[in-house]
């Protein structure tokens, strides 16, 4: 099968985050960037599907030059080639303008199956894969925890999460967009050989016009949403913080739980 997978490079939210000088986004300088957690699982799913069906994976990302690192990692893990929507005009979009740009890039290939994550850890729209599916006119499945081939190569059986710990099993015809949820598989590690081979694999960087898109229809210009500011949640209504060395703090907490909250 010919398989596409969309991965996004996102800030590692484990790192110490600071609001940037203009207040509109976090300070990205010196921040570590990683592949979005869901997308690591999407990538593993894509690569193992390609192995099982004797197919090939093309990995897509939309992001600034630093995102090349994420693509190299995907190539080291086993993707055959990469497409990087790196042009300035693609950047800073919303789920719709990003989904449209990715769809345009993917529609140039003859793919049977597209994997994405279900949600990003930075903007967290939970929507880009579904928008992409709508543009391509393909069915989608969101929050996917299992994928199997059904009826030869014509359809998939997909297990998707529903609320409250329930799963739904559905059949979707191919081609389809499968939006993977964390925990679906065990992502592999790159081998040294993989890393060496990745250096020679191609990364294509098409412009909007290469994709038949108007530069005004993608990225920030093509997005209906505008980000005004980011801030830490107000801590005023929050917890009573207990200070001190671990022993002191623990003793003080136990006292409060006993005498004040009366839950011990």
């Amino acid at each position: 099968m010919k398989i596409a997978v969309c991965i996004k490079q996102v800030p590692d939210t484990e790192a110490r985050l600071r609001v940037g000088p203009d207040g509109r986004w976090i300070e990205e300088e010196d921040l570590p960037f990683i592949i979005n957690e869901n997308d690591e699982f999407a990538l593993e799913e894509a690569i193992s599907w390609a192995e099982e069906t004797d197919g090939e994976v093309t990995v897509f990302t939309l992001g600034p030059p630093r995102a090349t690192e994420a693509l190299r990692k995907a190539l080291a893990l086993g993707a055959a080639e990469a497409v990087h929507l790196e042009d300035r005009s693609f950047q800073d979009g919303d789920a719709i303008s990003t989904g449209r740009a990715l769809a345009a890039a993917i529609s140039r290939g003859d793919f049977d199956l597209v994997f994405t994550g279900s949600q990003t850890d930075d903007l967290g729209f939970g929507a880009t894969g579904s928008v992409l599916a709508e543009v391509l006119g393909w069915p989608h499945a969101w929050l996917v925890m299992g994928v199997e081939l059904d009826d030869g190569e014509e359809a998939l059986q997909v297990v998707r999460e529903m609320e409250g710990g329930m799963n739904q099993r559905i059949r979707v015809p191919l081609p389809a967009v499968i939006e993977v949820q964390a925990g679906i598989n065990h992502p592999r590690y790159a081998s040294l050989r993989g890393i060496m081979k990745a250096k020679r694999k191609p990364i294509e960087t098409p412009s909007p016009s290469d994709l038949g898109l108007d530069a005004q229809a993608v990225g920030a210009a093509g997005a209906g949403l505008e980000l005004l500011s980011v801030s830490f949640p107000p801590s005023s209504e929050g917890a009573e913080l207990i200070e001190g060395e671990p022993e002191e703090a623990a003793a003080a907490l136990v006292e409060k739980l006993e005498k004040e909250a009366r839950v011990l």
């Binding site: 985050l17 719709i96 928008v131 559905i170 209906g224």
Partner: protein
């Protein structure tokens, strides 16, 4: 501004889901901010009784009802198909959806199809200098963002989903609404997907919903081999062990220990969150807890804003001390 606001209500087996009421409260709030009128939309099959109930209970300009056997089972194509036609005919300015998995499954497609603006997961709506500003979590809930529709997109339908807990269902305005039927175009709602089965994700061996005390582990614990501090504290307290999703995905605990929107919903007297940041998908599963204690090394972690007591520090130092202190207190 005089806007038309649609609230898309979600029902299952003839019952309205709780978040729909909260979404109505958000709709009423948005109507006040924009001098607008609120209308409800209800889709399903055999929902006549429910529709009458809502029409007799909620103050809205109209309640549009698509009651059709073709909508017996939810499919994204079915719901998006009905709403596409409705939006094109009636041109609502805003569509508010409850932020559920079902809405999230279809409304991004719908937004793309009607060339609208998509705002998922809204926690607050406000008006600033003549424009509507939406607050939504970013960076895993560690920060909040304020977004608005860009001026050159004003006039397109805005499709937003309202996060659980953002508005109180009790503030849904009481009154009545005039019912009107919504057409169901059979040829535009066919779904290529076939629903085969619905099943429990985990064999629910432990029912955490009845636990009195829960010690919940998060990714901050750092590894399966480091989980002992959690078990020690739980044993000392006679507590059940729960977890955030990454702990389950990494197999440090079995799936039946997961708490949150895709796991169990719990309401113990005491909930101790350890190395959990406090993402909304976790919070919805434990917000009914009595007393919440958080242990986290990051003083900005959102878990502290829902906790009653917090200790900022390394859990591997704090937990052993806490276990000792509780042993001491119990004598």
């Amino acid at each position: 501004m005089a806007t038309k606001i649609w609230v898309i209500l979600q029902q299952q087996n003839g019952e309205l889901n709780a978040l729909s009421k909260e979404t109505l409260a958000a709709g009423a709030h948005l109507a006040r901010l924009t001098d607008g009128s609120m209308e409800g939309v209800l889709l399903g099959s055999g929902i006549d009784v429910l529709a009458d109930e809502i029409a007799g209970e909620i103050d809205m300009t109209a309640l549009h009802v698509a009651d059709d056997p073709l909508l017996e089972r939810y499919t994204p194509e079915g719901y998006a198909g009905v709403l596409t036609g409705a939006i094109r005919r009636s041109a609502p300015d805003y569509l508010l959806f409850p932020h559920t998995y079902q809405s999230m499954d279809y409304f991004p497609r719908l937004a793309q199809r009607v060339d609208g603006v998509l705002v998922p997961g809204v926690e607050a709506v406000s008006e600033e200098e003549g424009s509507i500003v939406w607050t939504r979590p970013v960076l895993g809930g560690k920060l909040q963002s304020r977004v608005r529709v860009k001026t050159d997109f004003v006039g397109r339908p805005v499709l937003a989903s309202i996060q659980s807990g953002a508005y109180s269902g009790e503030e849904a305005p009481s009154g009545t609404a005039a019912r009107s039927p919504l057409p169901v175009p059979a040829d535009e709602i066919g779904s290529p997907r076939e629903i085969l089965a619905e099943e429990q994700a985990a064999e629910d061996e432990v029912d955490l919903s009845k636990a009195n005390v829960i010690v919940a582990a998060g990714r901050g614990v750092g590894g399966e081999e480091k989980m002992q501090v959690i078990h020690d504290l739980a044993d000392t307290l006679g507590a059940e062990v729960g977890a955030s999703r990454p702990v389950i995905d990494n197999e440090w605990l079995p799936r039946d220990r997961q708490i949150g929107s895709s796991g169990q919903t719990v309401a113990p007297k005491l909930y101790i969150a350890v190395g959990i940041s406090g993402a909304i998908q976790h919070l919805v599963g434990m917000k009914g807890s009595g007393v919440v204690v958080a242990v986290n090394k990051d003083p900005n972690a959102p878990i502290f804003s829902v906790a009653d007591y917090g200790i900022v520090g390394d859990l591997h130092e704090v937990l052993p001390a806490l276990t000792e202190a509780i042993r001491g207190a119990k004598g």
